[in-house]
């Protein structure tokens, strides 16, 4: 396309310089912070970080919630995507539109909407109390459940969209062919649909997992300081304690976990089915 490499390089140079100056350099500086004590390079900051029980709990909770959200999103996502793909074309367009609609609404607004639903005077509690199922309002907000629900609602559309496109790329008659060859619905799923849509599952899973791990607004509003996650902890360390070393450690943990999740999901996807 280009006459020579120099031309191509000249074209990307401005973008590269910009990205380097405002993104790469600060990130490298921040991350290197975590490996320094005085003048020497050590892993001391990481040892210190993980030796505190609060940090351990936050780390495990983040991992657990992100994994759970991913797993539940995959289950609900497959069911929803399969149903949507099999709709007549007109309905399909409309429902797909509805699925992506939440992605166009501000996450702050979306998350505050949950407070209207789950708060002490929210819809759910009002209903429970007036029906007599509960004597007093139940605490939903600032629990792991609230964060879980919020994250699931936030990221489910990404899973559904990934799976819809994966399912649509499947050969049209693969499912009926498997049925006629004697597969029950579970076997159709494990032997045909899953292997043929695993790329979509890996993409959707990676988006949902890293998204859940790095989400800030949802755990901040629905979990607050009672249900800290790595991202909210990071913000707290910086704003309240000016602790850039911990911030650096958390940042790297998040990056590493995002890559690890992607690798793991790919690994799972390419593992040959046991026969």
């Amino acid at each position: 396309m280009f006459q020579n490499r120099a031309e191509a390089i000249a074209l990307v140079l401005p973008a590269a310089i910009f990205a380097g100056a405002v993104f790469l350099v600060p990130v490298v500086i921040l991350l290197s912070e975590g490996f320094r004590t005085g003048d020497s390079w050590t892993l001391q900051a990481y040892v210190d970080f993980f030796s505190q029980s609060l940090n351990q709990a936050v780390f495990l909770r983040t991992l657990k919630l992100a994994a759970m959200v991913t797993a539940v999103a995959a289950v609900i996502g497959y069911a929803a995507a399969f149903a949507i793909v099999n709709l007549p074309p007109k309905g399909k367009g409309r429902i797909t539109g509805l699925v992506v609609l939440p992605l166009m609404i501000s996450p702050v607004a979306r998350t505050y909407a949950w407070i209207v639903i789950l708060g002490r005077t929210g819809i759910v509690n009002k209903a429970l109390v007036s029906v007599g199922l509960s004597d007093e309002p139940i605490r939903f907000l600032f629990t792991e459940t609230a964060v879980f629900i919020g994250l699931l609602q936030l990221f489910l559309p990404l899973m559904i969209i990934s799976l819809i496109s994966a399912l649509e790329n499947m050969p049209r008659d693969a499912v009926p062919a498997a049925r006629v060859l004697g597969a029950n619905w579970l076997q159709v799923f494990t032997k045909v649909i899953l292997p043929l849509t695993k790329e979509g599952l890996v993409i959707g899973g990676t988006l949902v997992f890293t998204g859940s791990m790095t989400a800030y607004i949802t755990p901040a509003i629905l979990g607050g300081s009672k249900v800290l996650m790595l991202e909210t902890l990071l913000y707290q360390r910086v704003t309240m304690a000016n602790d850039f070393v911990s911030a650096s450690v958390i940042a790297l943990i998040l990056i590493v976990m995002a890559f690890a999740a992607n690798l793991l999901l790919k690994r799972l996807a390419t593992a040959r089915n046991k026969r």
Partner: protein, 344 residues
């Protein structure tokens, strides 16, 4: 259950939402028959196949196979095989695994599995392709894998939806004989869909001609070819000159015109193949508007008072020029007498 009613459709109605694709179809198919389902695009051939395979729930009526009512039996529990027009091979599995797919689900394992898969591959001549992925095969090879995958299940009925339509002419001929051979050797009851009348005539023991979800005619290739019951079937099998009958006249664009010979009172229409038209003598005159050479014969398109007529004569006879005026006749004795008209 008798052998001639091995598979029966009883007032089977198939709909997509409010649209009825196939209304109240009655059909009996005998054990070991090779039946062709012939009809124009959209007449309900695929729909009927899918219903027999259990991929679509009938809105009413019943399907009985080998004495058992299978109308409500789910697809995975029916002893029915279906070869899809798209082949529908599993792209993530190699040829061997594709053919083994159904057998494994049946619980066949070990040496027996191996034997049956290899036998299946041998039948379709693909023993050397066992470890290839579907994407590495030609269309014809994929089609044969798909056939083997269904055959090894030893279904009571094997349905094939336009099995040859994606193949080139030569391979199509080859696969025709192949399919016939496999069917005769295994004795499986086979229904194949086609919209190519030549294919249906060449392969089938019996032909079902469908139109708009209804069966127009069922018969042996000879019956269909020689005695079409309706103008639609006649046109479909190559009677290119089709007329409605009014008393002892035929109805044309220029009014009713008398023809020679007596017509059976029950006859609603008359049809002639180009080869049945007498050319060179007779009461009618036509102007040559087109000619085409077809090897042994030469075809003429004539402008006549009856409308356009297609006639044919031996290519060895001297050719008539464009614009020449020829005499011709439509002899009633040769015509196919149609019991129904009004579908053209």
């Amino acid at each position: 259950m008798s052998d001639s009613r091995f598979l029966s459709l009883e007032k089977l109605t198939l709909s997509y939402g409010k649209n009825v694709a196939v209304p109240e179809m009655d059909l009996d198919i005998g054990k070991g028959e090779l039946v062709a389902l012939l009809g124009p695009s959209g007449c309900g051939k695929t729909t009927t196949m899918r219903a027999i395979a259990g991929l679509m729930e009938p809105s009413s009526g019943a399907i009985v196979l080998d004495g058992v009512n299978i109308t409500r039996v789910p697809a995975n529990k029916r002893p029915v095989g279906l070869v899809f027009q798209s082949y529908a091979l599993f792209p993530h599995l190699n040829v061997y695994e594709n053919v083994a797919f159904g057998l494994k689900l049946m619980g066949v394992r070990g040496a027996e599995l191996d034997t049956r898969v290899n036998d299946g591959l041998k039948t379709v001549g693909l023993s050397n392709f066992a470890s290839r992925k579907p994407a590495e095969l030609s269309g014809g090879q994929q089609q044969r894998v798909s056939l083997a995958r269904s055959m090894v299940m030893e279904p009571k009925v094997l349905l094939l939806d336009e099995p040859l339509s994606n193949l080139d002419a030569r391979l199509r001929l080859e696969m025709r004989t192949e399919l016939q051979r496999v069917q005769k050797e295994s004795g499986v009851t086979m229904i194949f869909v086609t919209h190519d009348q030549v294919e249906a005539l060449a392969m089938a023991d019996r032909i079902i001609v469908m139109l708009d979800g209804k069966i127009e005619q069922i018969g042996t290739p000879e019956e269909i070819y020689n005695n079409p019951v309706s103008d639609f079937v006649a046109d479909f099998v190559g009677f290119e000159n089709v007329f409605e009958r009014v008393d002892d006249k035929i109805k044309t664009a220029n009014g009713d015109i008398a023809i020679n010979g007596t017509i059976d009172p029950a006859t609603k229409g008359l049809a002639w193949r180009p080869s049945m038209v007498t050319l060179g003598e007779g009461p009618f005159e036509g102007t040559v508007r087109g000619t085409s050479f077809a090897g042994g014969t030469r075809e003429y398109l004539l402008d006549t008072p009856l409308g356009q007529i297609k006639a044919e004569c031996a290519a060895s006879l001297p050719a008539h020029d464009f614009g020449a005026v020829l005499n011709f006749d439509l002899p009633v004795a040769k015509a196919a007498q149609l019991a129904r008209t009004g579908n053209l």
